[in-house]
């Protein structure tokens, strides 16, 4: 369960203070596929970053499965994130000098496990995203859709309870985008992951079990046309 309780988050941009989230209350149930719609700069990514523990709230509280994230130090937060959250970026952000296999392997070096177990996990998630035959390819040798699949595999490999996806189809053509959305839906139904996805694409938002719109710092029910 993810609980936002009167959460406010501001940033300084030069001399200006930007407040993308103001007094936000939100609950996301375990196993839910939650989608947040909103225009660029509306604060969608800020909300995701708070859930992922990448950023901390200024006011209010954010609890994830009973853990008050604002009370954790940077090191504890890193550890918590590694164990509980998988993050999928819009621009994939794969490490260019590592192969698909090695990119997926990256999060596992934070955990004590045998090489064999590590290999089994990587093989499993690469299989799940349909890229077993591209394991040795480097990001530059993969299409945008394939790179995003690698990024999803990387997010999944440590078996986190929560998957946060920041515009996962934003940089993809329609066909690749459909493939990624289908994959996310399958991960949700087959593996029961809690998924938080932000997008500005209403078509992509339809796969969510609940869709809200973020506008001027507050959340509203979204009506999809």
């Amino acid at each position: 369960m993810i609980q936002f309780d009167h959460v406010t988050k501001s940033y300084h941009r030069g001399e200006h203070v930007v407040t993308p989230l103001e007094n936000v209350d939100l609950e996301v149930a375990r196993g839910e596929f939650f989608v947040l719609l909103g225009p660029s700069g509306s604060g969608k990514t800020t909300l995701l970053n708070l859930v992922a523990g990448i950023d901390v709230v200024d006011h209010g509280s954010l609890r994830v499965d009973g853990v008050e994230l604002q009370n954790l130090g940077e090191r504890e937060l890193g550890r918590w994130r590694a164990e509980n959250v998988g993050y999928v970026f819009q621009q994939y952000h794969l490490v260019p000098v590592l192969s698909a296999y090695e990119n997926v392997e990256l999060p596992l070096h934070l955990f004590k496990m045998s090489a064999r177990e590590r290999h089994e996990r990587i093989a499993l998630v690469l299989e799940a995203v349909g890229l077993s035959d591209r394991a040795e390819h480097f990001p530059r040798q993969l299409s945008g859709g394939q790179q995003q699949r690698v990024a999803i595999a990387r997010a999944l490999v440590a078996d986190p309870a929560i998957l946060v996806c920041d515009e996962p189809t934003g940089d993809l053509d329609a066909e690749s985008a459909d493939g990624i959305l289908a994959l996310l839906q399958r991960l949700h139904t087959e593996f029961g992951k809690t998924i938080l996805m932000v997008t500005h694409d209403e078509r992509a938002a339809r796969i969510g079990s609940r869709v809200l719109r973020l506008d001027k710092g507050s959340l509203h029910e979204a009506s999809l046309s």
């Binding site: 993308p20 990448i54 950023d55 090191r75 890193g78 993050y87 970026f89 952000h93 090695e102």
Partner: protein, 380 residues
Amino acid sequence: MRFWIKLVRRQLGRHAVRTTLTMLGVAAAMLLFVGVESLATGLDMALRSGESARTLIVYRKNRFCPQTSFLPERYRSDIARIEGVESALPVKVFLNNCRASLDLIAFHGTDVDDYVRDKKVRVVDGDFERFRREEQAALVGRDFAARRGMKVGDRFRFGDVSVDVAGIFEAAEPATEGVILTHLEFLQRAGPVDRLGTVTQFEVRLADARDAERVADVIDARFATAEEPTDTRPKLEFLGTATRDLRELLRFGRAFGIVCVLVVLILVANTVLMSLRERRREFGVFRTLGYGTRELFGLVLAETAVLTAVGAVLGVGLAFVLLRVFPMSLGVEGIAVRFEARPTLLLLAVALAVLTSLCATLPPAFFAARRRAGELLGAV
């Protein structure tokens, strides 16, 4: 660990041209650094000879170059009779150049048996007996032979002096290995200044180093009113005076060496800063995945250390090979100072380069590594 080694290697290969140029820059800087420091080491060794403490050099008063110092050979017996003197070795020196020179040619004409004994000369190639027998034969110091590519049986000619190489020798003092040893009378006759019966200097061995000052005073007093008055000084002081110009030059050279180290610092810091700026988002991803300050900091430092170490090893290795293949020495007032690239100097140079670059990298690496993922990803 294997994964991290692979990651460091690939990150460095990511911008191969930039990495190569930085490594070559470090290599060039360390090559120059080793060049300067090896000369300093050579000078230290020349001045720190074990026998120097109980050796006096008797020179013609008010003369500062071997070409102008002439002392009657007969002073030898007078000096040898002074209490505390173990032996007095007459040496006729004939040089190509009294000033600093990278190609010093120095003939030492002397009483060969005493010279060999006093200077612990050992023939490593050739025939010592032939040298003793033949008037025109010479023993060539190992350094000089290597520098000139000389071998036994060669004839070497400089000016009016022409010698047959009968052997190649090594000696206890590195400076001795830069000279050509001939018979005294041969050099007295063969030199451009035909002064039979004169020598350039006497090397006086004392029984006790503590007598040095007293014996020097006695020698100078003995010849104070002679036709050629003397100036007697402990060998260390003599060497110190003779190499004063070189030491001045080295002081400048060492400043140059420090600049070389600073070049390493600037080069590596620039490369690392560029790399950190380019990889800001990548670091954000590492942070997002759960990596902490320590891991990222370690990654940047490891990349820096490898980058610098490879460059430094290249430069230092090249310096070592060059000095082995083309042995060099700098001659000043007839004293050959060898460029000594000792293993400790080479290790020190690599360690210094790596430490310097790590110091240069510490602040940017630390600040980059401790930034939060949100800042690095720049997301709102």
